[in-house]
Subunit: 354 residues, 4 copies
């Protein structure tokens, strides 16, 4: 095992941590040396995540993060926000690389963090300084290559930003965006709640946090970096849907009235032509979850709508797996890039059909 | 059984027909005298719709519509569009009252029919003359009371129009509306298709007919009658979701920038305060399918969004059961009104929980 | 409202309580005067069970049971076992009739109670004395007619006993029975648990308490009363299935080798020919959940298997809704009988299709 | 690509063919050179199986099998029974190795084939001669190593046989076995049918072919080879459950009355201690689908039941993914063994969680 990257996973009992392990345990250049958690301490990984039974002898250990990262090359953080920020402050000077799946270091704007996460950030300077690099390869692959600290994007944020990014890249995006995105229940995490109670979830559709979801500033930040007009705004309605995995987003966007189908086709091709995980859907079909569920792939597409005055509507669709490209998979993609590996390592396999 | 209304059901093997029977067989003032179909001819109703086993001795009969309605007071039509228009022409002069669940007589504008249904209407004059009364009690109860021919609204059309109607009634609705509505699989009917194949449907989310769904002109027609500005437009994206029953709609609408929460609360109360099947949801919760599934009830609600220039956004939510209030249930509600019965007959019972 | 039966519901926030209310609120001879609970105290019923919004102004009240039943004619108890037994002791001398949905007063054998429920019964004499009448109309309708205290059967117990009862009634049942019954998630109650967490439940099948489920003695008690040989035994494996409502049971039973198809057809007809809620399925189809879900109806059927020595196998199938005929619905059926009402009151309507 | 095994897939549009491709396209020693089908001819693989979009340029071709296998080293056959037998006769002398997923060459007894498949086998001599080797590595790995023609086991057959095999291997299995196994909807194939129509499947449980399923003789054949008493019999009830993937089997078996827990623990360990894909579950948990869904792994376990006369009951549980270990995955496992590769190639990865 010499020369392998030594990885530690902080917070291993959630679905994000589980998905990271599902990949890292089979990564040719990685050795997972330690997994910490506050739940299930002492249990074998396979006794909590049944799919991993027999694939590792590691157990969940409870220990301070600073101790956990000793000797490790990289720490994957799979914890809730707020908790994560404190842990990062404990290990930021230890020399370990960090790949963080929480929302704590994604934003550059501490005021937006305070507004949408409901607490003041404990280290706002780290946000404005960009201490962490936003881990969306399609947005900033080169920055990731040079990074030591990665803030891996949120699930809705990835779906919606990737759906609209070609418009931003082409300089066509401005004005208000209206988005509805429906998500599977695994996005709510591994702890049972009334909103994931099977009898109520299995035949239900409902919204939560409409116009208030914490991914709103994250999406706008990405789109502006990609080229959206600074005054682009986003009204986002999340919907809880009765499936375990997957997000499907519909975004109504405004482009100049003169925009043509050809122009948009070129914009999507230009944005994603060489991206290994983005599938631009055309030819009558539109993106759907079933084609990407369980995998790191994303389906994106659009429909050109009517002209209203000086603007024309484009409806952008995008679909991905919230735990893979919307979470653990993307974090490993960025990790691969940061380490100089082929970014597809452990991620190239397709999802299930059906 | 003297004095009971004699009802015939034309097209009884689909889910609409089944739901009509589930109600009419228990209606205190109705006797179902005949059920026709082209499938399952000769079978007992309970051998096709298992839930009705033992509750009626009727069988499916194949016969011309003109013959089927002989001696009947009312014909419920539960057939596909195009087929229905032909049947109506065969029975329109027979004196029988008609309650039609298809889309063939809902629109007043024959050009819109041709555009969205893909065929010329065989009797366009009947559309422009308003031969059929649009059977949405919340929109035009008095007209229904005087009607003999009812065109019962579509499932998406009911959900979306009821979600937005308070804004229209209050004179606040204009400009483009952006709607995403997710629907259960029963909306696709009783015939197996690839889009309702369980392995692909159970864990999927996808769109179909985005911006092209045939309910678009129906919704606009209703909203304009209710008071929406004539130039109000609608961009609608339907989404297929993995549940059997229910529709959840999210509509982004524009109102004047000065509009307040109090004004909207009053608008919803004014529109629906005395409606027996509309539940205005407030107090932190938003509409969801689970509360209305299996019943004729509708949940509606809204969230007030940001001001952009001269306009302010309101996001309207609505949820109902596509086969009941979005189909058969509403058709019976209108039938009850037309016949002078209590409109809640057979419809007052709540849905299941959970 | 004079002359109506005054009913109080003790424990109204669970799914059993909710289903009782769904029926009793529409019962022509009942007035629900009070609902108690320990959760959601002070909330309106419709703010907890969304389907009941607007249908009652009652709120959940916390008060001692003895106080709650004051002035009431009947108390429906919808609480967990153990808790229930204590409440019953508090109200048993108050004169109020009791319909109990828990397992605390179903068994006659206190030792079996202690073994399967894991605690000594606080009033074992009440069990052996038969203070409560077992509320399964198909088994003992006449006893229910004379009862004042009803112990309503369990969901698995109802499904399995009704599936096998024709064999017992015909004197054909003896030897070991092997049963697998799969249940929907609502059977686990309204409180979120890991076994009802949507991401894990939605695509899973698993067993729990195999050979140890507390309904085993209840089923044997019923079958022996119906005529099964005293040494009949039952090995029962419950399975958790990914649907909200319904139980489907498969029971392998032994009958004499000489038993014929005609004999069995006659046995099922004899047992259930006049039962209002039992549908004997034949003609190539077998029972399934979809035909009875949401209703008080039961589908039963059988397949005759091979001869092995002196015995022949019969495989019995049965399907019902765990919350209706397997719970609240059956409790109201027994209540109707006890009060001298038509036993079908509020229960005659079919379930949904689909 | 020199030195790679050239594989052709005959019948590539079903779920079995899709799952084979999902693996073979990433197999380090295999090149898929051709895919035939009768549906979707000319389409790209990724336009039918959306998960494979972009991963291969192959299209579905229609051509005679004899032509399709020209130049290939191995043909994977993923077609219905009956059709398959004819194709095999066309290519059996071509020199190509065959891995067949159908039921046409699994049985040694042509009479059993005729009885359970409803047709005479076109080449009964091939059955009795054992022209094909039954591809269940846990049963006959050494025979597979020497084979050129593999008949890959059925999904129910694999689940049930693997659940009971330790008893057979230990010489403990005799008498009648009673099995109920619930399956996901993908087992019914890619063509929409009424039994996989989402509205009816999503909330249903039902049986089909009770006591008559064609996997019965296949299971008995395996168990007898493993050491079951020749008079062991099987009564099997399949159940359709509302999930896309997975089978959960419960088998009631008889062992000598003296059998102990320790003896059985040893039997399971002895049977499966070195098997790469079998997980023996103990310690209070029992097998469940969620731990193996999407993977080639199997969970097996048991509960010791009561003594009845000279026998004692053991209830055996087993769970797997019907399309992977119950289908395509197992066929590749056998292929790997036959070719002298590590049998885990492309199969070692765990399934999803959740």
């Amino acid at each position: 095992m010499a020369n392998k990257v030594k990885a530690v996973l902080i917070g291993g009992t959630g679905y994000g941590g589980s998905e990271i392990l599902r990949r890292l345990l089979f990564h040719p250049h990685v050795e997972v040396v330690r997994i910490t958690s506050v739940d299930n301490v002492g249990k074998k990984v396979g006794d909590v995540h049944f799919n991993l039974a027999g694939l590792t002898e590691l157990t969940f250990q409870e220990m301070p993060a600073a101790q956990a990262v000793a000797g490790a090359d990289v720490a994957f953080l799979a914890m809730p926000h707020k908790t994560t920020a404190k842990v990062v402050l404990d290990i930021i000077n230890s020399g370990v690389r960090i790949v963080d799946l929480s929302g704590d270091f994604r934003l550059r704007d501490a005021a937006a963090y305070a507004k949408y996460y409901g607490v003041e950030h404990p280290a706002p300077q780290m946000l404005s300084d960009g201490a962490f690099t936003y881990g969306m390869p399609e947005l900033n692959r080169e920055a990731i290559r040079k990074a030591r600290y990665i803030a891996s994007p949120g699930c809705f944020a990835t779906t919606i930003a990737l759906g609209l990014m070609p418009l931003a890249r082409a300089g066509l995006l401005s004005g208000p965006i209206h988005t509805v995105a429906a998500t599977g229940s695994s996005g709510s995490g591994a702890n049972p709640q009334i909103t994931t109670h099977h009898p109520l979830r299995a035949s239900n559709l409902r919204t939560y946090k409409p116009l208030e979801h914490q991914h709103i500033p994250e999406i706008l930040q990405s789109l502006r970096i990609a080229g959206a007009h600074p005054e682009t705004s986003l009204e986002f309605v999340p919907v809880s849907a009765p499936l375990p995995r997957g997000i499907f987003a519909t975004s109504f966007a405004e482009v100049p009235a003169s925009t043509t189908q050809e122009q948009l086709t070129a914009a999507w091709k230009s944005a994603y032509g060489s991206e290994p995980f983005i599938r631009v859907i055309s030819g009558g079909r539109q993106p759907e979850v079933i084609g990407v569920s369980g995998s790191n792939y994303v389906e994106v597409g659009f429909t050109l709508g009517p002209v209203t005055g000086a603007t024309r509507r484009v409806v952008c669709f995008s679909a991905l797996d919230n735990l893979v490209k919307g979470g653990a998979g993307q974090s490993i993609q960025s990790f691969n890039i940061m380490m100089g590996f082929d970014e597809r390592l452990t991620l190239a396999e397709p999802g299930l059909w059906p």
